[in-house]
Amino acid sequence: MSRRDSSEIIGDILIALRDFGTTMKPTWLMYRSRLSYPLFKSYLSKLLNSGLVETVEGKRKRTYLKITDKGIDFLNHYLQSKEFERSFGL
């Protein structure tokens, strides 16, 4: 398997959140996006700062993660870019 670049890692995190449907625990997201804890932490802070992902308070005041509308829009553009790249063999 080839190394993922940062845009692919961000894409994988957003796809994992989208596929889960509802809010997701950070640890589950870390497993699904196949990242180590320090890497996941840095990517999550980037996503939270850019407003692509938001935190939601759940049961027993636990923090859950959710994809925002901006995140959905970004993912849409990201998937289009990847498809364009594949179509022209770039």
Binding site: I72, N76, Q80, F84
Partner: protein
């Protein structure tokens, strides 16, 4: 006139898409692909200035070739090739050499696409291969001297490129309602 306008529209469409996708993914290949189609559009626009037209077309096909074979950076050899193209364009603007070089580069591009298809199958990649194959055939027809048929084949090539862009957008379209 109709073909020129259509080619310029297709080229600007791809330049716009490549640039916006480059901003998302940051892949340099997307940037070079955009540059290639910008030069191709300009070559159609400056068809009346023959030397400039030749140089722009040759450079655009060279850029596509480098992008497809994933040449991530320009090395010194590329500058020598561009210089050579400049010399051919201005000192010896022979249409046969020009169409021959175009055809040769397009043949390389087609060969690369066949290799890519053998490695991983993608339906849009087949359409892309046919598009560049059409452009290659058009250059060979130009050498024979049948400009009317050559232009028609070139039109089909550009139409196929447009179809690939539209298909790629439709294939990856995700709406907010899906979440």
């Amino acid at each position: 006139m109709g073909l020129n306008l259509f080619a310029i529209i297709v080229c600007s469409f791809i330049v716009h898409r490549s640039w916006s996708y480059y901003r998302i993914l940051g892949q340099r290949n997307l940037l070079y692909f955009g540059w290639a189609f910008l030069l191709m559009g300009l070559s159609v626009l400056f068809k009346s200035i023959y030397g400039l037209h030749i140089w722009l077309t040759l450079t655009s096909y060279l850029l596509i070739y480098l992008t497809v074979r994933r040449q991530s950076a320009f090395d010194t050899t590329i500058w020598y090739i561009l210089l050579l193209f400049g010399v051919i364009a201005w000192l010896h603007p022979n249409p046969f050499i020009f169409f021959g070089l175009n055809g040769l580069m397009l043949a390389y591009i087609c060969f690369k696409y066949i290799q890519k298809l053998l490695l991983s199958f993608h339906p849009n990649l087949i359409v892309t291969l046919f598009a560049f194959f059409g452009l290659m055939v058009s250059q060979l027809i130009f050498i024979v001297g049948s400009y009317k048929i050559g232009n028609l084949v070139q039109l089909i090539g550009f139409a196929l490129i447009l179809i690939v862009v539209l298909r790629s957008e439709r294939g990856a379209n995700v709406t907010a309602g899906q979440f």
